[in-house]
Every structure is written in structure tokens, then in C-alpha cells.
């Protein structure tokens, strides 16, 4: 923190490493130094975590993800006190032009009705898949805030009241091609970016990713970010098992 620090921005759980940051503790640091805290809450959704209640000045959501939930509309939101939100409305919407289309707003409003029901399933299935991955000898590491072994599991338990979300990361004991081959053998989990959709999605982040240097050691050999969808968790587990039998490894 410096005398000119105006803003602290964190994401928790974070993309793509599902790192957990303590919102209440960081909001105290921000406010003691006259700075604002913004928290990107996209991976948690308001069902699991509400940063405003924990002291964040600004909460950011990509509505594209869990809140719409159906993978068919883009949107975003910022939440907080009126005096802050009014400034964003005037600058980012009216003058920068980032307004949402009425049709997308309607779609997202419709999707959001089932947010709590969907989040329960995302939370439950991701916990099951993460626990399953942990048992496999082919798996190099699994990162999921719901696992006891996660570095900040206790903080996650404190601030995520209903569950830990549907996103996890893991790596295989294989090389670059081995990771891509594994994805090519999946039938249920789709090879695509984004998260929070009804269908499960996987993306391979290679060992040459420009931000590898910022991540923990375990992430440096290349890894997957997986968004666990609303399919039956047993089918997702079978899909992973079958791909591990069929993929070309070193």
C-alpha cells in the first residue's frame, strides 16, 4: 500500500488458479489506507458469497457465467453504494457506451431465477469431481477451495456460505500433447472457454502461458481449468475415467 493507492482489486476464487483472498481482512486494509476494494465475484456468484456484506466497496460480476447460467448471453454488473454506482453508470455506461442490450438483460433475468438451485448442483458436483481427481495416480495436482488441502480452505469456508463454486483446476503427470490428447478423448465435458454454463467446459492452459510466472509451482507444467456443469456428476467422473484410459501419454 502506498499513499497514492486508490484501489485494491481481487478476484476470489480467482481465475484460473482458484486462489482465495480474505475479503473482510483486505477491506480493512483498503479502508485504513483510504482506498477502495473491488472484488470480482464471478466464480462464486451471490449464492455462495456476497462481498458487499464482507466490506467490499465494489462487487463485480460477469453475468455471462453463473448468473445467466445457460451460456447464451453476455452481461456484467457492478454493485455497491449508490454514490459509487452512479459514477460508473454515468462514465462507463452513458459515456463509454457499455450498456447492456434489453434482450440480454431479459435473458439473464430469466436465467438468474434458478441461480440458487443451479449453484447447489455446481457446488456438489465440483466437490465430488475434485475429490475423485485427488485419488488418481495420473493427476499431478488438483486445486479446489472445497478440498481440505487447499491453502486457504478455512478462509473459503468462512466467506463462502453455501459452497465453493463449480470451477476447479488440475494437471496430469504428462506433457503438453498428453494434456491435449486427454481433452480430445472427453465426450461429455466440452473443450471450450467460459464457465458457469449448464454444460461442463474444460480449457488447457499451456506451460508457455505468459502468466505462468505469477502462479504457484504446481501450475507451471500446464494445467486445465474445468467448469463443472449440471450433468450427473457420475457421468462426468466416467468421462474423465474413460479419457484417461484412451489418451496418448508420455
Amino acid at each position: 500500500m502506498k499513499t497514492n493507492t486508490r484501489l485494491i482489486h481481487v478476484e476470489t476464487p480467482s481465475n484460473p488458479t482458484v486462489k482465495i483472498s480474505d475479503i473482510a481482512a483486505i477491506s480493512e486494509i483498503a479502508h485504513a489506507n483510504g482506498a477502495l476494494l473491488s472484488v470480482d465475484n464471478t466464480f462464486a456468484s451471490p449464492y455462495n458469497q456476497r462481498p458487499y456484506e464482507l466490506g467490499a466497496d465494489l462487487t463485480i460480476e460477469s453475468l455471462t457465467k453463473y448468473i445467466n447460467g445457460h451460456g447464451d448471453a453476455m452481461g456484467g454488473a457492478a454493485l455497491g453504494k449508490k454514490e459509487l454506482i452512479d459514477q460508473i453508470r454515468s462514465q462507463a455506461m452513458v459515456n463509454l457506451g457499455g450498456a447492456i442490450s434489453p434482450f440480454n438483460a431479459w435473458l439473464i433475468m430469466r436465467g438468474a431465477v434458478t441461480l440458487p438451485l443451479r449453484m447447489r448442483q455446481h457446488n456438489e458436483s465440483a466437490q465430488k469431481v475434485a475429490a475423485f481427481l485427488q485419488t488418481l495416480p495420473q493427476v499431478r495436482f488438483v486445486a479446489y477451495p472445497g478440498l481440505y488441502g487447499h491453502k486457504n480452505h478455512e478462509t473459503a469456508q468462512r466467506q463462502m456460505q453455501n459452497g465453493f463454486g463449480g470451477v476447479l483446476a488440475f494437471g496430469l503427470n504428462t506433457d503438453h500433447d498428453g494434456h491435449n490428447s486427454f481433452v480430445s478423448k472427453l465426450r461429455v465435458i466440452t473443450n471450450a472457454v467460459s464457465l458457469g454454463h449448464d454444460e461442463s467446459l474444460i480449457v488447457f492452459l499451456g506451460e508457455n502461458d505468459e502468466r505462468q510466472y505469477l502462479y504457484g509451482d504446481e501450475f507451471r507444467g500446464g494445467f486445465f481449468r474445468v467448469s463443472i456443469g449440471l450433468e450427473d456428476a457420475e457421468d462426468l467422473i466416467s468421462d474423465i475415467k474413460n479419457a484417461l484410459l484412451a489418451y496418448k501419454t508420455v
Partner: protein, 146 residues
């Protein structure tokens, strides 16, 4: 016509279902409609309107009906007093950064974020506006404090 007036006293599932919805005043339909119009009718004398205002209904970029309903629902789900809905998550991120940062300001950001937040704070804002940044491991509050 009865008003639902769903507020924070209701539990999360109830807010998710009813928040932001009311009976449509014109038709009596129990769901608010999609309003695709770009413009809203002006008053008899519009000459003293603030064309940059986001309060009144002037033009959909200054605030549309469906945007307003969605904001009501999201504010209820977050127990937050206010919400602005924008065109994407990145529009919200860049909107927050643009609104609250100016030249010479310093930002402390987590070293694990969505790539556009990284691009904006690590490169674009420093290069274009002279904003300073420090990336930290925010999973450790002490590294934020430093």
C-alpha cells in the same frame, strides 16, 4: 393491482424468483415484458433535460427498462444498495477502473485474475494513463498490506 415489493427481508430463493419482477401495468401480464425500443418519449419541453443523465428514461444507453429490472434483482441477491448492469463482465471491470482511477494513482491487484483485468491494470492503464500497479499474492493479506 398488488405490488410485490420484494425486499431483503425475503430469503435468497424467494428473491431469486421474484426480485425485479412485477405485474406489467399495461397488460396485466404477470411477467414484465422485453422492451426493445431505443428511445423513450420526451416531455413536452425537453430542452432542459441533461442528455448525459442515467436517471430518466431518454435513450437505452442512458438506462433501459429491462436493465433496470435486472439491476433490481441483482442488488437484492447481493444485499447491496445499488447495481449497474453493463454489456459484459469486462465492461464492468474496465468501467470500474476507468471511473475510479486517474494518472498517478496506484492499484494493488491480485496476481491471479481474469486475463482482461491483468491486461488493463498491468499494461493499458500504466501505458495510457500513467497508473502505477503492484501485483501481489492476495491470498496472503500481509502481502497486500506491504
Amino acid at each position: 393491482m398488488s405490488k410485490k415489493n420484494i425486499d431483503g427481508n425475503f430469503r435468497f430463493l424467494t428473491r431469486a424468483v421474484h426480485g425485479g419482477n412485477e405485474v406489467d401495468a399495461e397488460t396485466g401480464a404477470i411477467r414484465r415484458p422485453i422492451t426493445m425500443a431505443n428511445s423513450y418519449e420526451l416531455p413536452y419541453d425537453p430542452s432542459d433535460l441533461n442528455w448525459s443523465s442515467a436517471d430518466g428514461q431518454i435513450y437505452t444507453r442512458n438506462g433501459g427498462a429491462n436493465q433496470r429490472y435486472l439491476q433490481e434483482k441483482l442488488a437484492l441477491l447481493h444485499n447491496a444498495p445499488d447495481c449497474v448492469a453493463l454489456s459484459s463482465g469486462v465492461a464492468a471491470l474496465s468501467g470500474v477502473f476507468f471511473t475510479f482511477l486517474k494518472s498517478g494513482d496506484h492499484v494493488v491487484m491480485s496476481n491471479s485474475t481474469y486475463i482482461a483485468a491483468y491486461r488493463l491494470i498491468n499494461e493499458l492503464f500504466p501505458d495510457k494513463f500513467g497508473v502505477e500497479k503492484t501485483l501481489v499474492d492476495s491470498s496472503d493479506p500481509d502481502s497486500v498490506r506491504l
